[in-house]
Symmetry: C2
Subunit: 132 residues, 2 copies
């Protein structure tokens, strides 16, 4: 398979696949013409990566996950640990975003949004938030 084929089948842009080769996540062989020659195993890896990335795992997490995936003697506890820690990160991010959302929603609700300059949003940004 050429890079265009694996791109179509993995859902990853060709650019990204080249990048993944650069950083050593996949190591496709080369055809005589210099083109990357992907095996089914490479495609499988790339699809794995695409799914892990879609779940928000960092590249380094993905590298670790791939390593565990290919290690028949892995302990599922190691995988679970990675996933749990990533879940915690996700929850942190959600919490942060919810705080932003709540604060901003209050300001937006307070703003009449017409052509007058008076604006509670700017007022809120220009003064110390009432922290209690």
């Amino acid at each position: 398979m050429n890079i265009g084929d694996v791109a179509a089948r993995s859902g990853l842009p060709a650019k990204t696949i080249r990048y993944y080769e650069d950083i050593g996540l996949v190591t496709p062989k080369r055809s005589e013409n210099g083109y990357r020659a992907f095996a089914e195993a490479d495609l499988h890896k790339l699809a794995f990566l695409a799914r892990a990335r879609a779940l928000g795992f960092s590249i380094e997490d993905c590298r670790a996950l791939l390593g565990l995936y290919e290690d028949d003697a892995r302990a599922s506890a190691d995988v679970r640990k990675l996933a749990v820690s990533h879940l915690a990160e996700i929850e942190d991010k959600i919490a942060q975003l919810r705080e932003m959302q709540a604060t901003l929603q209050v300001l937006v609700d307070a703003c009449h949004g017409d052509n007058r300059p008076d604006c509670p949003i700017l007022a809120g940004l220009s003064t110390t938030p009432r922290g209690g």
Copy 2:
């Protein structure tokens, strides 16, 4: 005020303040010794920026917000529009993170997490997600 003072009072690292000067968000005067000499107005701007950034606005949004803030003839509708659009982005991100969270939670719950290699998390990553 020197940069250390405004850093302490705005909560922004000195590095970040220099960066904000580089990209034209603030333009402090200079003392004869070459040090940045911040006025109260600069500090106020930086605190504004710190709060807008804490709400997740991009630097370019912040630039626009600052422009509106300093424009006495602004329409509050313009500010509101920016804020509403940013709120939508926040909500999108939350929704995406919640999807990741849900998927990952299912996998984590299914994983016994002991020293056996059998692992539903890796299995889930290695096969096409059942999409319904």
